[in-house]
């Protein structure tokens, strides 16, 4: 082991910023991070062991105790559940003889849930040693169990298990505008870099991650900071449940995304870029490396790009299972080799970002669009959309519809149009923008896709009338409690309290005061949390409570107070100890006998 770790550290130039990449390699090799590896790394990277332990415990894909040689994770997104995940998981656990969350006694396999893997249009989905498994059904699970039990190396597994479809259903302005490699960089230099920034400004392009900050302004602020070093970061930590458009952009149009980053680098004066790729998209890592290599060999990356005074290269960093790293300052922390905890702002990344230097962080789709705008000009883009939301938006559509996949629409398109296109019928509502977004009911489908109405980073989940609102809210509340980084009190404690309170109502222990208490708690978490995660974690409850108060009420018992647990069941131990089971040893739940 010692030689392995030593070599790994050397391959990563003993850089503490590479900590996640190093730990990923150790986890892949040993299926956990052994204590001796931590001790050795602390010395080699010259960082405290507590930083390494902190990072291991923070990211879902790292473990301090051994997992199976086959680490099997099944996506726990609401869309996987809608596709029958729960019975599949039960079947899988039984078939493999391993508990969910556990490791089989022979150490061959471990099984657990994981947050949305970004395969919502082809679920139920999973990960085996980090690689995506799609369209799981009983037949595929039988195959997988057989391959695991025969300990067949992953490389020999049938390729069809790992097939990931792009499912591009509807192209628009951006997906139709093919640009050739180098075209955007050439156009930017021909027009002049300042004039190109003006074109991006004129295009009205706003950040496609969902927050909607004007891209040109971000680049300008960054360029204006006095500094010798600047960085360009592409945020491909697409973790919002129901979102998968960045996966498709990187699978099919990676060159254009890298080209957008290169144009940004030219404009702000950056020499180094990073693609922060979510760990769930490990299967894209090698193909993307090959594309970067090809771009280097063609003079599109490296020194004197296309003969210009432009020196820029891109490094790919993989995440390790943490939704919070989609928040730009948490992402930067993660890139630096730390836990993904959002920073205090100000200062903003444009002034103090990666390693304290001015940094532009944009979404995959933003760079993709910027490259096209550099070629086609600002007016081309601005001619589409609404006054406040220019251009088009790429959506990941999934849930109850006939044709899930990727759709591109001009901003301003009505929800009804989108539902018609993807073949959604008998619709109860749509979750626009993922759990952190808004749930809209079926009388609101004339609302529009736009920053000023329904903003979305791309997630669009459709629910038909057979779905239960509280199942959805239950799933989302558990998701946020699992993904809260724990930095601030309102989110750390609040998301767990929200989870408990929803469980209480769903389990039938709620009473009149509980919905009021729930709403109060929602406001507290929303108003006082440190970052976007906490500020939006209560949205699933708030947006459904507003629309379907009767659904919540219907689960409440008609008494003024109801204990949050089963009173009689709690007496079980006492009964066993007293060897009693007569009627006097049982308690009715308060008030159940009378209304």
């Amino acid at each position: 082991m010692q030689a392995f770790i030593e070599q790994l550290a050397a391959d990563n130039q003993y850089q503490p910023t590479r900590l996640l990449q190093i730990l990923r390699a150790i986890q892949a090799h040993y299926h956990y991070i052994p204590e001796t590896a931590i001790e050795q790394l602390a010395v080699l990277l010259q960082i405290p062991r507590t930083q390494i332990i902190g990072v291991i415990e923070f990211y879902s894909f790292f473990h301090l105790t051994p997992r199976g040689q086959y680490e099997l994770l099944i996506s726990d997104s609401i869309t996987d559940h809608m596709l029958g995940k729960k019975p599949l998981m039960t079947y899988l656990a039984e078939k493999l003889q391993v508990s969910v969350g556990g490791v089989r006694a022979d150490d061959v396999v471990s099984l657990d849930n994981t947050s949305c893997t970004g395969l919502c249009d082809q679920g139920p989905a999973g990960l085996i040693n980090g690689l995506a498994l799609s369209q799981l059904d009983y037949q595929r699970i039988d195959t997988i169990c057989q391959l695991i039990n025969s300990q067949t190396p992953l490389a020999a597994w049938p390729a069809e298990l790992f097939l990931v479809d792009d499912n591009i259903q509807k192209t628009g302005l951006l997906l139709n505008a093919h640009i050739t490699n180098g075209e955007a960089i050439k156009a930017a230099y021909q027009r002049g870099l300042a004039a190109t920034l003006e074109e991006i400004d004129r295009s009205g392009l706003k950040g496609r991650g969902g927050a909607g900050f004007k891209t040109a302004m971000k680049w300008k602020f960054c360029a204006e900071e006095a500094s010798s070093e600047r960085y360009v970061i592409c945020n491909a930590d697409e973790g919002e449940p129901g979102t998968f458009k960045d996966r498709v952009l990187l699978n099919r149009y990676a060159d254009q995304v890298f080209e957008g980053m290169t144009v940004a680098a030219a404009i702000i004066g950056a020499k180094q870029g990073f693609l922060y790729l979510r760990g769930e998209y490990l299967f894209l890592y090698e193909p993307l490396q090959a594309i970067l290599q090809r771009r280097r060999s063609k003079g599109l990356l490296g020194r004197y790009i296309l003969g210009a005074e432009l020196h820029f290269d891109i490094e790919i960093h993989l995440g390790a299972g943490a939704y919070i790293c989609g928040e730009e300052s948490a992402l930067i922390e993660s890139l630096e080799g730390h836990m993904g905890i959002p920073r205090n702002r100000p200062p903003y990344p444009v002034t103090q970002g990666y390693l304290g230097k001015p940094t532009v962080v944009n979404n995959v789709e933003t760079f993709f669009a910027a490259a096209s705008i550099a070629v086609n000009g600002g007016d081309w883009f601005a001619s589409m959309g609404t006054e406040k939301s220019r251009g088009s938006k790429i959506l990941s559509i999934c849930g109850d519809c006939q044709r899930s996949g990727i759709y591109e629409y001009p901003f301003g398109t009505s929800i009804q149009t989108i539902l018609d296109d993807c073949g959604a019928e008998d619709v109860l509502g749509v979750q626009v923008g993922g759990p952190s977004g808004t749930f809209i009911a079926n009388h609101e489908f004339d609302r529009r896709l736009a920053f000023e109405d329904l903003a979305t980073g791309g997630s669009f989940i459709i629910f038909n009338n057979s779905r239960d609102i509280l199942d959805i809210v239950h799933n989302f509340s558990h998701f946020f409690a699992h993904e809260s980084c724990g930095f601030c009190t309102p989110c750390r404690v609040g998301t767990s309290l929200l989870k408990k309170q929803i469980d209480k109502i769903v389990d039938g222990h709620g009473s009149a005061g509980d919905v009021v208490a729930l709403e109060e708690l929602c406001q507290l978490v929303k108003n006082y949390s440190h970052c976007g995660l906490g500020q939006t974690a209560a949205n699933p409850i708030l947006t459904t409570l507003e629309r379907y108060p009767e659904v919540y009420q219907s689960r409440l018992k008609k008494i003024s107070y109801e204990p949050g647990f089963d009173l009689d069941a709690a007496l079980d131990i006492a009964r066993t100890m007293a060897k009693r089971n007569d009627s006097a040893a049982h308690l009715a739940q308060i008030g159940e006998d009378h209304d």
Binding site: P48, T50, I53, F58, N344, G486, F487, S496
Partner: protein
């Protein structure tokens, strides 16, 4: 020329680079806080010091003061919400004041009194947390840790060591110490370190000193935390 912000309608002078908390403390205005200490880099995690700056919630300990800010601090809404945030801290850990040696000297308890907290409001989590009594002169009771990181910062910034860190995610966050064994006795912590004395709760206690100051004669027994805090922290800010 002196610059000013307004806190609850009162003109408060500040110097460029000061946070709202620093300006407030210097002007004898108390803003409740737990993770903030004037000697160390502000952290902004407990959120008790949340104030409304021009209508927006901000952490006073990290947010820079700037000319013309209209800050609300002592409003009924903020006091109520700070109380709930304090209740969250009580619900999350295991805080049994009557049996805790820190009672009367505990900032968490004192802030709760100051905010007129009469119950924990939220269902208690009753987490299973351990003690580390391995060190000859310092005890860790994880039941009372509120993850303020003051010991982490004091150890790094004043003691020049790196004894403590917070590991884990979300509700599973916990204090870890820098020793291969994971035990405090194997770290280079000394009882005289600032880090051993900085804990706002009873999570870090100095051994062999228990109850030497009788209950009734402790820091917050005769003075509310607002006055005590201004008296002790004011000079730090100068």
């Amino acid at each position: 020329m002196t610059k000013f912000i307004s806190i609850d309608g009162k003109k408060i002078p500040f110097q460029e680079g000061q946070t709202i908390m620093q300006a407030a403390t210097a002007a004898d205005v108390y803003i409740p806080h737990l993770c903030h200490h004037p000697d160390f880099t502000p952290h902004g995690s407990c959120k008790l010091c949340t104030v409304k700056v021009n209508g927006r919630n901000c952490s006073a300990c990290t947010f820079p003061a700037s000319e013309g800010q209209d800050v609300l601090n002592n409003t009924q809404e903020l006091i109520e919400d700070r109380k709930k945030i304090t209740q969250m801290l009580f619900a999350e850990g295991n805080h049994f004041c009557p049996s805790c040696e820190k009672t009367g000297n505990c900032q968490l308890q004192a802030v709760a009194y100051h905010l007129n907290m009469l119950d924990t409001h939220f269902p208690l989590f009753y987490p299973h947390r351990n003690l580390d009594a391995s060190h000859p002169s310092v005890l860790i009771d994880h039941n009372r840790c509120i993850f303020c990181t003051l010991c982490v910062r004091a150890s790094q910034q004043q003691d020049g060591k790196n004894v403590f860190a917070i590991a884990g995610r979300g509700i599973n966050k916990h204090l870890v110490v820098n020793a291969e064994s994971g035990l405090l006795k194997d770290t280079d912590l000394a009882a005289t370190d600032r880090a051993a004395h900085i804990c706002p709760t009873g999570a870090l206690l100095i051994k062999h000193t228990g109850y030497q100051v009788p209950i009734g004669q402790r820091a917050y027994d005769h003075q509310q935390i607002d006055q005590f805090s201004l008296n002790t922290e004011h000079h730090h800010e100068q």
